[in-house]
């Protein structure tokens, strides 16, 4: 599968012809609307809200947000504000006369809204573009962290964000979700059709716990056909660094540390770290 983000930066890749192709292709339209509906069901908005669309492109998902439909968009019609870095895409959106307000902006430079603006945020096939840096002055991690920090601030408490993206590999998946967690979000990844060619990854973010347990498990509770896999490391009882000095664990760790440094360390045996017999 070719990855456009490996070839060119988004503002150059989505030029006039590519933007038009993207918007008129019925296949892409179908996939986009499917993903938008999925994201909307994860947001579960009950009343008309203000939504931020990151990487709105030509407004394919915005059109769904601003129409009311009892089955797929019960809370709507929503008002949305879209950010995109490609001016050609925005030009197409302008031609289509979408209802949302459009901004030419780079999400990797932050989100220019005051705190607590939005009820929800949605992003369809955009976040993977942030994993590339086009100049030496910026890094993918820095761009992701500015984006998520800005997004976290601009959402109101109890708000949610759903970002569908195409991770290149597991490493990238981890990089994106850990950047979100570091910004303060309760985060979780939802995968549709995992392992297949049409796998879709949704990063589900929550701001402030409320009734949601502060992560994805609260969002997907009650949804059909969703398995929860918790890969978080569980620290039982004691935290790391709290093991008592002189205990067997501590000695083993120190010996390993010294070995890594290249020091000469005595081999471990069954007597290592064992208490001496009490002798008078």
């Amino acid at each position: 599968m070719s990855r456009p983000e490996d070839t060119l930066p988004p503002d150059l890749f989505y030029n006039d012809s590519e933007s038009r192709k993207y918007t008129t292709s019925s296949r892409i339209q179908h996939i986009q609307s499917q993903m938008t509906h999925r994201a909307l069901s994860l947001l579960s908005l009950r009343s008309p809200s203000l939504i931020l669309d990151i990487g709105c492109g030509s407004g394919l998902s915005g059109e769904i947000l601003s129409t009311f439909s009892p089955e797929t968009n019960p809370g709507g019609p929503h008002t949305w504000i879209g950010l995109d870095i490609s001016s050609s895409m925005l030009a197409v959106a302008l031609e289509k006369e979408v209802e949302g307000d459009l901004f030419l902006a780079d999400a990797g430079q932050g989100v220019p809204f005051r705190p607590g603006t939005f009820d929800a945020a949605i992003s369809i096939s955009a976040v993977q573009w942030l994993c590339n840096a086009e100049s030496t002055e910026e890094s993918p991690a820095g761009r992701l962290s500015r984006f998520f920090n800005g997004l976290y601030a601009s959402l109101r408490r109890g708000g949610r964000a759903v970002c569908q993206f195409y991770p290149k590999n597991d490493e990238q998946k981890k990089m994106v979700s850990s950047a979100a967690v570091r910004a303060g979000f309760g985060a979780g990844l939802l995968e549709d059709d995992p392992g297949t060619k049409s796998a879709k990854t949704y990063l589900v973010l929550t701001v402030g716990g409320g009734e949601l347990d502060g992560d994805i498990t609260g969002v997907v509770r009650g949804m059909e056909g969703v398995d929860v896999m918790d890969n978080r490391r569980r620290t039982k009882g004691r935290k790391r660094g709290e093991e008592t000095k002189g205990s067997k664990g501590w000695i083993m760790r120190k010996k390993e540390q010294m070995e890594r440094k290249g020091k000469v360390v005595k081999a471990n045996s069954k007597y290592t770290g064992r208490k001496r017999r009490i002798a008078f």
């Binding site: 307000d101 901004f103 220019p112 005051r114 603006t117």
Partner: protein, 161 residues
């Protein structure tokens, strides 16, 4: 760009994030356009507490729009007890029966009477009045963001990020 959106915008520069001057952005050489939009009473009720009323007032003053009342209208002032507007289902009303208060709030806008008028006026100012061309200037760093055909350019050159 809707005036509602402008009420939420701040300067995109990191250095301006910590100052209060970065909000609101002041419009310059703005060219306004009225775009008809469907009235969405529930949305306005939802968004009203989040609108910075003081900023909206100064904005209207700057743009030469009719003066807004000094305080934001109460949620109760948005809906009449007997809605004249059939688009508002009566079961979705908030605390009806405070008509007197609504009249008081609405008077600054020059239209007294049915409280739903307050809502319609708000809808007109926030969602139908848009900035088509012009510039948005940050009060702190003085950076001017260009607005063309309703699209604001918030791309920052790398030395400003």
């Amino acid at each position: 760009m809707k005036l509602l959106t402008l009420n939420f915008l701040t300067c995109a520069r990191k250095a301006c994030k910590s100052t209060t001057l970065a909000f609101p952005l002041r419009p310059k050489d703005a060219e306004l356009e009225i775009v008809e939009a469907d009235l969405e009473p529930l949305f306005i009720r939802n968004i009203l507490p989040r609108v910075e009323w003081e900023a909206l007032r100064t904005l209207c003053q700057d743009l030469g729009l009719p003066q807004l009342p000094p305080a934001a209208p109460e949620p109760a002032a948005l809906f009449a007890p007997n809605p004249s507007d059939p688009s508002i289902p009566s079961d979705k009303l908030v605390r009806p029966g405070k008509e007197g208060e609504g009249e008081g709030e609405g008077e600054g806008e020059g239209e007294e009477g049915a409280p739903t008028q307050t809502l319609k006026d708000l809808h007109h100012v926030l969602l139908e009045t848009t900035i088509r061309e012009g510039k948005l200037v940050c009060g702190n760093c003085g950076h001017a963001y260009a607005v063309k055909e309703g699209i604001a350019n918030f791309l920052l050159p790398s030395h400003l990020v």
